[in-house]
């Protein structure tokens, strides 16, 4: 009996190791989203720099100062933000799904929110835990 339980415990131990392995992020869906976002980033970068948009604490990008965008460009910036945030939401969901843990979506989003802010260039605005915009 003891022997059986011991064997069972041994058999289950690799599960713990598996849980600590890298997350799967190399799927066609994730790569597609990543490339769309990288392409869009070139257009968003100038608006990060002007302070028009900032890195929100919920893992999205948000308009923080519409006045920093020339009037004729505002609709285009809103369109970019909408597309970017849709891709980001899809990305968080897809990473959770690709790893067989749809319930991880919120935690993946939180992790990304911190890392987007951490990797932001100097001069960009990031939202702190209290919701205030802080210039990096």
């Amino acid at each position: 009996m003891k022997k059986l339980l011991f064997v069972l415990l041994l058999a289950l131990s690799p599960l713990a190791a598996l849980a600590q392995a890298n997350l799967e992020i190399n799927t066609p869906a994730i790569n597609g989203l990543k490339q769309a976002m990288a392409g869009r980033h070139a257009q968003l970068a100038a608006h990060y720099g002007s302070g028009a948009i900032g890195i929100a604490r919920d893992g999205s990008v948000s308009l923080r100062d519409a006045n920093a965008v020339p009037l004729p460009q505002r609709a285009a910036v809103n369109g970019l933000l909408g597309a970017e945030n849709a891709d980001r939401a899809a990305l968080y969901k897809e990473i959770a799904r690709a790893n067989g843990k749809p319930e991880w979506e919120a935690e993946i989003r939180n992790t990304f929110a911190q890392r987007w802010a951490e990797k932001a260039s100097p001069g960009w605005y990031v939202q702190n835990a209290q919701g205030q915009w802080v210039k990096k």
Binding site: M1, K2, L5, L8, L9, L12, L15, A16, A19, Q20, A21, N22, L23, I25, N26, I30, N31, K34, Q35, M37, A38, G39, H41, A42, L91, I95, W104, E107, I108, T111, F112, Q114, R115, W116, K119, A120, S121
Partner: protein, 60 residues
């Protein structure tokens, strides 16, 4: 015999606890690493991996 059943019960409880731990466990460090790899490509911070090129499988 009694000792054996107590031990078995204990082992079973440990096993159940371990399973629960595995189920709720979120690999924060792995998630951070995965996030960084994606973000560096989106922000184009990686000079060796342009956004237009697919990610090489060996870059883990």
């Amino acid at each position: 015999m009694r000792a054996t059943s107590i031990l078995s019960a204990l082992a079973a409880a440990t096993l159940a606890a371990a399973c629960v731990t595995i189920n709720i466990y979120f690999p924060a460090a792995a998630a951070e690493k995965a996030a960084d790899r994606i973000i560096e490509e989106v922000y184009q911070l990686r000079k060796d991996a342009p956004a237009s090129a697919p990610v090489p499988a060996d870059k883990k």
